[in-house]
Amino acid sequence: MDIQIKKGLLDICVLAVIERNDSYGYQIIRDVSSSCVEISESTLYPILKRLEAGSCLTTYSVVHNGRLRKYYRITPIGREKIRGFFEEWEEMKQIHDFILREGKPDE
């Protein structure tokens, strides 16, 4: 897949996981990898950083077994971004259907 498209889609996948429930690094990797697409830790870090910079999520820390675990929570802007993705998807689907129709010989 084109790398720019993939990058954008991964951002949405990560947001979608966090939208269901606040989550933390390893949990996000597992959820995205199992239901969407394989994602590595080194790929996830810049995604989280980008989403936080874009105010799509906020972070907080929780003490867990004597260490701090960083949790990510979606923001209203983050929810907007997911909604925007669905709208774009509708538009993309229409174009896709158009191409498909136009490409077919007359039936």
Partner: protein, 346 residues
């Protein structure tokens, strides 16, 4: 490798990042490993998943272009702290002698004919104690490692009013940190004997590790055969190593060549550069990684081609190596827009 070693190795390679960003990244990976261990992974396996630390660090640095400003004020604080450390070390029995031998050299920058920098050379000696790591972090200084007949370690270094040096010798580690506030970007020819150089004299059979990073100047090392790990990092300048054997070797530069002659690693060797060649002459290791862009990888590897599992990844390049499996040794060569011409020699 265990978690702490991995994080320490990663921390070293992320030194160029702003401190808070580096800490965030390290906390992220620490948390990730600890969560994996908690869900049943063995610590070593979790760390192994990350593969080569240098490659991971490069990926992280590529995603994050911010760089840490090199700060003279901080160095003053470190120097003060290390003076106290020296006093403590003397009482513990680790003898250090700060000898001052003074001679003056005038160095001229090739790209700045009117630019002369006067240096006074001094020496720092770490005589006693067994040393298992020498760490040199410099700016705009060549760093050269040479063997000598004595059993101690001597650092000969160029100093002037723009230089800050911080030396420490404790816990088996000798550390030299140089910061250069001259603000001049002198570009030295890669084999310039007039370049301001930090020369580290080591016993011929030095068996500890070496970590060196500098900027805009070359690194040279030759004639050692018991070194444990050596890591050399520089920028815009060459790394030249000859007649050298170590357990593992790692070389990183950009816009300059890596030249290795009669160099052998008992475990693993990697060389990474861009826009410059990797030249090999009679190198040997069971695990070799060579990577560059827009340049040539050429030379000879000791051994037989069929001993190696070879992965030759090239884009827009001509390579004489073909991918093959089934070897007990590993050779990975990667380049773009270039030529790979590597022969095997017995």
């Amino acid at each position: 490798m265990n978690k702490e070693k991995f994080l320490a190795a990663l921390r070293r390679r992320l030194k160029v990042l702003p401190a808070d960003e580096a800490e965030r990244i390290l906390a992220y990976y620490r948390e990730m490993i600890e969560d994996k261990v908690e869900s049943g992974w063995a610590e070593e396996d979790a760390v192994r998943e990350y593969g080569n630390v240098s490659a991971l660090a490069r990926k992280i640095l590529a995603e994050n272009p911010n760089r840490r400003p090199r700060n003279v004020g901080k160095i003053v604080a470190i120097v003060l702290a290390s003076v106290c450390a020296v006093a403590l070390c003397v009482t513990i029995g680790l003898a250090e002698v700060l000898k001052t031998t003074t001679w003056t050299r005038t160095a001229t920058g090739f790209n700045h004919p009117g630019d002369t920098a006067n240096y006074t050379y001094k020496t720092y000696d770490a005589l006693d104690g067994s040393v298992d790591l020498i760490r040199v972090s410099a700016e705009k200084k060549a760093v050269v490692f040479q063997p000598w007949e004595k059993s101690g370690i001597e650092v000969r270094y160029p100093t002037n009013s723009y230089q800050q040096y911080d030396f420490s010798s404790s816990g088996g580690t000798v550390s030299v940190v140089n910061r250069d506030s001259s603000g001049k970007n002198l570009k030295w020819a890669w084999d310039d004997s007039e370049a301001p150089a930090i020369t580290v004299m080591l016993p011929k059979d030095y068996s500890g590790s070496i970590e060196v990073d500098t900027t805009n100047s070359f690194i040279k090392a030759s004639d050692f055969n018991k070194v444990k790990n050596m890591e050399c990092t520089t920028s815009n300048s060459a790394i030249s190593v000859n007649d050298f054997t170590a357990q593992s070797l790692s070389f990183q530069t950009q816009n300059a060549a890596i030249n290795l002659r009669n160099v052998s690693a008992l475990e693993k060797m990697e060389a990474h550069t861009q826009n410059a060649q990797i030249g090999l002459e009679k190198i040997s290791a069971p695990d070799i990684t060579l990577e560059t862009e827009n340049a040539l990888i050429t030379g000879t590897i000791l051994g037989k081609e069929d001993e190696y599992t070879i992965s030759a990844q090239t884009t827009n390049a001509i390579s004489n190596l073909k991918n093959r499996g089934g070897g007990s040794k590993r050779l990975s060569v990667e380049t773009t827009n270039a030529i790979i011409s590597v022969r095997f020699e017995n």
